[in-house]
Symmetry: C2
Subunit: 354 residues, 2 copies
């Protein structure tokens, strides 16, 4: 086991003292980077990057070469599980992910297999091992999965959706059927994340990208319940170290107390939530990750620094904050502006950790 050279991120997730606030960016290996676009062109397409461990490793490390980031995140897609279940993931330019075989009928849902990560998703585990080896202890590696509810929406709708009509129709007219599907997904996500941890992921994050589309009660019934099931089934210690779990429900800012009850070490926040108010609500129970609007990176360097400063001030002194964007960095951002952001976090946060 390689010793970590920079453990700021792990320490902040466990609410231990740090010198400066650690920072990483969701989708930090992404289209805003010219070197990423070049790798993707060589690979042919997005899945050509995901399914080739060497290429996945290459793009995972690219942002770390440019910026003093405090974490690496596995390059993969949230929809690998339904793809492994046989739904046929594909991407149409400008249209987002789609499935050739959406799952809607009772027969289709009852036939969904639980996945075996070693047999069904070896390329992901190989990528984790390769990246971990190449990182060589530079920063911790984050593994991840989509949440059961978020995966179910794509599987039922056949792609992304504005209103989740079919998934919600199932929730309100055939809830038992949807619960069966969510249970299969929760068991698959649990074994998938545990396999990533065994392969070398030192932190895991669950992306509940569409949990915020649910009502206050339906979130508890159809999303949070399964986040709890996963939290209960995860390996929480590996290589003699705690493996922190980060839950990120986009649009879930009103439900932080309930999310903290799952026992996750940290909660991701989007930009609609005030950091200081969130901290007051969850107290010392969890660390908080976020939450600058990625669109701020379209602003001037001065504005970027002001926004970073405001969020740091809102969180206040002491440990437990991981700086991040409130969602993935977007393709049109100037890479120089991402650098301004990351350097500003380190520079402006030092006084809060004295």
């Amino acid at each position: 086991m390689t010793e970590l050279k920079n453990d700021r991120f792990l320490r902040a997730l466990l609410r231990e003292p740090v010198d400066v606030t650690p920072v990483w960016m969701m989708r930090q290996a992404g289209r805003y980077l010219p070197e990423y676009r070049a790798s993707r062109e060589r690979a042919g397409d997005f899945m050509g990057l995901c399914t080739n461990p060497e290429r996945a490793c290459e793009v995972t490390l690219q942002p770390l070469e440019r910026y003093p980031l405090d974490a690496a995140i596995l390059f993969s897609d949230i929809l690998t599980i339904p793809d492994a279940m046989g739904l046929g993931l594909y991407f149409e330019t400008g249209e987002g992910p789609k499935f050739r075989k959406p799952v809607r009928t009772e027969a289709e849902i009852m036939a969904l297999p639980e996945i075996d990560p070693e047999a069904d998703l070896p390329y992901v585990l190989d990528a984790v091992k390769t990246i971990r080896r190449e990182l060589n202890g530079r920063v911790p590696l984050i593994g991840f999965s989509g949440s059961p509810w978020t995966l179910a929406t794509y599987m039922i709708e056949g792609g992304s959706s504005r209103d989740f009509r079919r998934a919600k129709e199932m929730a309100y007219s055939q809830p038992e059927l949807l619960h069966h599907m969510l249970d299969v997904l929760a068991r698959s996500v649990t074994t998938y994340l545990n396999a990533q941890i065994r392969a070398g992921a030192q932190v895991v994050q669950i992306f509940d990208s569409w949990g915020g589309a649910l009502s206050h009660n339906a979130y508890r019934e159809f999303s949070l319940k399964y986040l709890q099931q996963i939290a209960d089934g995860l390996l929480r210690e590996h290589e003699g170290r705690r493996v922190p779990l980060i839950l990120f429900t986009k649009g879930g800012g009103q439900w932080l107390e309930a999310m903290a009850d799952t026992g996750a070490e940290a909660l991701g926040l989007d930009w609609t939530t005030d950091m200081g108010q969130a901290r007051a609500r969850v107290g010392d129970r969890v660390a908080l990750q976020g939450n600058m609007d990625p669109s701020v990176l379209y602003g001037t360097p001065e504005r970027i620094r002001t926004e970073v400063s405001d969020i740091l001030k809102s969180y206040g002194t002491g440990p437990g904050h991981v700086f991040n964007l409130g969602h993935g960095i977007t393709p049109h951002v100037d890479p120089e502006h991402a650098g301004v952001f990351i350097r500003a976090v380190h520079e402006l946060s030092a006084p809060y950790h004295e």
Copy 2:
């Protein structure tokens, strides 16, 4: 002035006692109704309905013929103001509203005229007068407008958007320019709503459909500030009666306290906010309107009644609740299910008003 035969809605907005909780539905005159689809076909298109006062009146009254609704809402579009400013509103099937001439440069923004409702939007005021006359005091009539920020997003993006890239880029790189645009819009919305009130609207609602896309701080700077400006400039008494103002920021559930500070009589809630928690936060300062997920109407009649019951129970006893959906009713809803919903509100709410 005709006496109101059913003033439950007005009374609830002013937190006065009622016999049962009043109910209406955003977009209640909409595509889910076959009689609406027939009217629209006769009119040729959506704007053909909006711009003809007799047709606008016809579709406004259609849901009142079917259901025991407690309010009527002017049939119109939130984008009439930018259309009157010369941007050229049009609709492409399945694509939502678009503008032929988006507004992006400093020269385009500085040239935006403040609108004069009597001269620029006479068809809206004629529709208000016609509907008010035909309602003949049956229920109150709601007038409405989009919020300045929401109108600005459509004007800058040229249509609807997933991430509001251009509008947010302006917010973070040229904030003074965006503020000028928002000020012109706020002054136009104020005169527009006041003209609707003088023409007969007894309540006004501002739809801040995209306020929830902003960060906690940016919401205050780019949306709420202009909602306050409008609230300060509105006629608050007309025909010897208070004219209640309803603010609805979709996705604004974390900002209710700040919204209540504007002096609006009521706040609209989407389905992500728990009614009871919202009431505890705003106390007796405002009435609350909402907040069932329209997707519940895809569910069984039993599930619809359960959801209505849960929201009524969460709000609790006493006045100040107007039942509504958390957003507009969607085209695929069975009209029978809308009836189940409306009847359930009246039937199940009576015990909370004894």
